[in-house]
């Protein structure tokens, strides 16, 4: 049987989750053929290096101007067309956000079910992750071709196969609808590039900030510390900051080295989102605020005075 794997790649190298998808494809295909498809804006982009070692027999480098940026529908049509031409028994993609999106498009085009986030597959029997990892579901997928995505980092990408992948270029015949969905513009997120979930330092504001403008000093301090800006639920409810900035159980869970919480009372749902923080510095005018129970350091005072003072001190200390 032939299995077709969709590869995500950047700068000529295939992403790790895609190589993991190849490994699962290899186990599914046994001795038969694993072929891969990558979407390339031009021929120099085909990520062929080392693919043979992972067990890919043929790499179809799909060429189209649309592939200069991310174009999920166009990639999906390409995959569907190629799968039909190869008579693929299965189409597998990486279970990344984009991989899942592309395969979902393929499923819609072929009117077939998609089993997302699989950790293993044997014939039509798959095991996949549900509920954010708290549940493993065993499912039987009755479809041809079988459409799967592979949960990233659930299995290791294997190397050591003999052989090299031959590269064949492929020009898809795309519909007009496929070209409608494309990247028009890229804009950096408001946090200035530091992601809240991964930031080493997070400076957050709560209801004490008083307004959207009240976040000016917080952003200034965050800039000086190379930190991400967060906020509490009260702030997003009031519409001062977007929900993507919310730290809490129903927002982003953070795990910084230090968390600076300004004007945040420390509701349980907020604290559940920052319990991964190594150290908490609370700045609050209310000495009875619940957050002081969990804080390692505290400044009792109006954040509108304290935060600019810290920024000024930082500036003065720097050459």
């Amino acid at each position: 049987m032939t299995v077709l794997v969709y590869l995500e790649h950047a700068d000529g190298a295939v992403d790790e989750p895609s190589l993991q998808a190849v490994t699962l494809a290899r186990s599914l295909a046994r001795a038969a053929s694993v072929q891969a498809v990558s979407a390339c804006g031009d021929s120099t982009q085909a990520p062929a290096d080392g693919l043979g070692g992972h067990g890919v027999d043929v790499l179809h480098a799909a060429m189209h101007d649309a592939f200069a940026t991310y174009a999920p529908r166009a990639i999906a049509e390409t995959i569907a067309e190629l799968a039909g031409r190869l008579g693929a028994a299965a189409v597998i993609g990486p279970g990344t956000e984009r991989g899942n999106e592309v395969l979902a498009h393929v499923a819609a085009l072929l009117d077939l079910p998609l089993a997302a986030n699989c950790v293993s597959a044997s014939g039509a029997e798959v095991t996949r992750i549900r509920w954010g990892g708290s549940l493993l579901e065993e499912a039987r997928v009755d479809a041809s071709p079988l459409l799967l995505t592979v949960q990233p980092h659930a299995l290791a990408a294997q190397v050591g196969a003999q052989g090299t992948a031959t590269v064949e270029s492929f020009t898809p015949s795309l519909s007009e609808a496929a070209l409608a969905l494309r990247v028009v513009e890229r804009a950096a997120a408001a946090t200035g590039g530091v992601s809240l979930a991964d930031a080493k330092v997070v400076v957050s504001g709560g209801r004490g900030a008083g307004s959207a403008e009240g976040f000016g000093p917080i952003e200034e301090l965050a800039g000086l510390l190379d930190a991400a800006v967060g906020c509490s639920r009260a702030v997003t409810m009031a519409g001062w900051r977007p929900h993507t900035d919310q730290v809490g159980q129903t927002g982003t869970k953070i795990a910084p080295e230090i968390y600076i919480a300004c004007g945040i009372s420390g509701a349980t749902q907020h604290m559940a989102g920052c319990k991964g923080a190594k150290r908490i510095l609370a700045i609050n005018a209310d000495r009875d605020a619940p957050i002081l129970q969990s804080a390692d350091y505290a400044v009792i005072g109006d954040m509108h005075d304290v935060v600019p003072a810290i920024s000024a001190a930082l500036r003065a200390a720097r050459p």
């Binding site: 639920r233 009260a234 159980q249």
Partner: protein, 656 residues
């Protein structure tokens, strides 16, 4: 026209109407029979009482005086005038025929005259409400259908009057004349013209044909409730309103496993009957906190959406077609998740529709069969199962609030206490809610009660998971807690959290746990009344916010008020008692992001408008939500649990 010809004509009319009505009624019956089982047998006495008060007595409708009276006039008129239908059928065949005995009773004829007028008054008032007052609750209802129905009722009653009058004018009926003042007056006005002979026939036939048209139209319209509402009320819930029907995961045949409502055939027959009983009055929509704050959910539109789906797909499903998913085609995902399960709609509904059960069954399917729910609530579901509390706090810290208070933490093998204090996750872990736990414990110890807590062995009751639709996690928690409580020999429990109160008292019986469960406000009020706690009379203006799971779902209304009126001067909000307005946290909304404007702010504004300085609450979630709401709206109210306020009055020196 001979009697025989009239009889034949009537027979034809009856058969045509009967067939048209019967076909539709049979279809509706077969659709309801598609429904899944739900146990609504037994409790005949209680059901009969509900039928008497809610249907005959119009109790729910009369919660709103004016529209309630309008409906009651038309309904009671309908009941009183029922025999006149038979009289008219007989009269249509032969002008001299009427019902034996009853047709000659003066008192009944007086009643007919009186109720004809009352029904007409009712119809005119109903038109007035719909055309002039135009209440918002009708938004989304079928207004023209209602106009047509009101018009038909007016025609039926008017032709009845005219027919009676024309019979009196002709002197053919043996009406005891003095008993029908209105019909007599109309008869006098009619005079004795030659048209009367024909007129009498026209009036009676118009009357009969309008009634038959009405009968045929009924099962095709929202006015179907005339036939279904009485039945739906009879089969309404008789056990605690806060209790959800458990799902059975232990079924032998996997095909029989019901995970809530995915398609229409997953609905119970009662839920199907619910949709057919709705007459779109919108009382539910009017009291819904989600609708009031600009969200998509209207309980009325929810039921209408399900009904439309039932009628659109039901016949095909009866023919063997596969039913399709209810969400999002019949009900959107947003609507399903907007609900706070406060039960205001259920309490308001005059025909015993159980909206919350519909919502929870839709959630159960989305959560357990499709893993489709607001992503932000996922952590809570996982933490309830893994960490035994919805915030993922370490269980070892569960009793930390009690440090230094001298509360007995029960170890396995310890003798059972007089009362077990079930603290609940919120009062155990949340800083603001802990004040209530400390106050309650101090007061109970002060009154000399033998109180114990389970400490780290206490685990989330599973309420938030259950209200989210994760029945599986709930049942695991229930079994575990029932085992712990049984092992500790507990018989009497006091809770701080109305959600725990509801779960332990009303829901754990389904899992083998039977206890006497009281809320801390009930126990404290009892101790206050017995003199085991003494508090001086206070004068501070206090408004008390009823928790839905305490007041509406479990009838605890008086006890917290007894405490509040002792320690302060009570001021009621417009929406209080069993008609309270949710704080916004119910139905697991504590762990979901809110769309639209905020329910807690709406409630905080209502509380501030009473002029009170203190907003008393009796639920840790209400405490958090309303404290946030007060801060956000900047009214400066102090939000405090009734127990905290009482503790300050009883033991001022150690105010917490």
């Amino acid at each position: 026209v001979t009697t025989l010809a009239s009889a034949l004509a009537l027979l034809v009319a009856l058969v045509v109407a009967g067939v048209l009505f019967g076909r539709r009624a049979h279809l509706l019956y077969r659709i309801v029979r598609l429904g899944k089982p739900t146990d609504r047998a037994g409790d005949a006495g209680r059901r009969a009482r509900t039928e008497a008060t809610v249907v005959l007595g119009q109790r729910k409708l009369l919660q709103r005086v004016v529209p309630g009276l309008v409906h009651a006039l038309v309904f009671w008129g309908f009941v009183v005038l029922l025999p006149t239908i038979l009289m008219a059928l007989l009269g249509a065949v032969d002008e001299d025929w009427t019902l034996p005995w009853l047709g000659h009773q003066g008192w009944y004829l007086l009643l007919v005259d009186v109720f004809c007028v009352l029904v007409l008054v009712g119809v005119i008032a109903a038109f007035g409400i719909r055309k002039i007052q135009r209440p918002a609750r009708f938004e989304g209802s079928h207004l023209r259908e209602a106009d047509l129905i009101l018009g038909l009722i007016a025609v039926i009653v008017t032709t009845l009057l005219l027919w009676h009058a024309s019979q009196i004018a002709l002197g053919i009926a043996e009406w005891p004349a003095g008993w029908s003042p209105l019909s007599n007056a109309i008869a006098t006005a009619m005079g004795d013209g030659a048209w009367l002979e024909t007129g009498e026939r026209v009036f009676v036939w118009l009357h009969v044909l309008t009634i038959l048209s009405f009968l045929v139209y009924l099962p095709y319209s929202k006015h179907l409730h005339i036939g279904t509402a009485g039945i739906n009320v009879w089969f309404g819930r008789t056990r605690s309103r806060g209790r959800l029907e458990p799902l059975d995961f232990e079924v032998e045949d996997e095909a029989a496993l019901r995970l809530g409502s995915g398609t229409l055939v997953d609905m119970t027959w009662k839920q199907m009957l619910d949709t057919m009983s709705c007459t779109e009055c919108g009382r539910c929509q009017d009291v819904c906190p989600a609708w009031a704050t600009g969200k998509d959910l209207s309980p009325k539109l929810l039921i209408m959406g399900l009904r439309d789906r039932l009628f659109a797909e039901g016949p095909a499903v009866l023919d063997g077609r596969e039913p399709t998913a209810l969400v999002p085609a019949a009900v959107t995902d947003e609507v399903v998740w907007d609900c706070v399960t406060c039960g205001a709609c259920v309490h308001e509904c005059p025909v015993s529709i159980e909206h919350v059960d519909h919502i929870v069954d839709l959630r159960r399917h989305l959560v357990m069969a499709e893993s489709r729910f607001p992503a932000e609530a996922g952590t809570m579901l996982r933490d309830v199962g893994r960490s035994s509390n919805p915030w993922g706090k370490p269980q070892s810290e569960r009793a930390a609030w009690a440090d230094g208070l001298g509360v007995r933490v029960l170890e396995p093998g310890d003798p059972a206490p007089e009362v077990l204090y079930w603290v609940g996750c919120a009062a155990s872990f949340d800083e603001r809610a802990r004040a209530s736990a400390r106050a309650t414990a101090k007061l109970l110890l002060h009154a000399g009660l033998d109180v114990g807590i389970l400490g780290p062995r206490e685990s989330c009751t599973g309420d938030p998971a259950r209200r989210m639709g994760d029945e599986f996690t709930f049942q695991e928690q229930a079994r575990r807690n029932v085992a712990t409580l049984g092992g500790a020999g507990v018989t009497r429990i006091v809770t701080s959290c109305p959600h725990c109160f509801n779960t332990l008292g009303s829901e754990y019986t389904d899992f083998g746990g039977s206890y006497e469960v009281v809320h801390h406000t009930e126990l404290l009020a009892e101790l206050l009344a017995d003199g085991r706690l003494e508090a001086p009379e206070g004068t501070d203006p206090i408004t008390y916010h009823d928790s839905c799971y305490l007041a509406r779902h479990n009838d605890v209304v008086a006890a917290p008020r007894a405490i509040v009126s002792r320690i302060g001067r009570p001021l009621e909000m417009a929406r209080h008692g069993k008609r309270t307005f949710c704080c916004g946290a119910g139905g697991a909304h504590m762990w979901m992001e809110e769309r639209g404007s905020a329910i807690n702010e709406e409630r905080a504004r209502e509380a501030a408008a009473t002029g009170a300085e203190t907003l008393a609450v009796a639920c840790p979630f209400c405490t958090m939500m309303l404290d946030d709401g007060v801060r956000q709206t900047g009214s400066g109210l102090r939000v405090a649990d009734v127990a905290v306020l009482l503790a300050e009055a009883v033991v001022p020196a150690s105010g917490d």
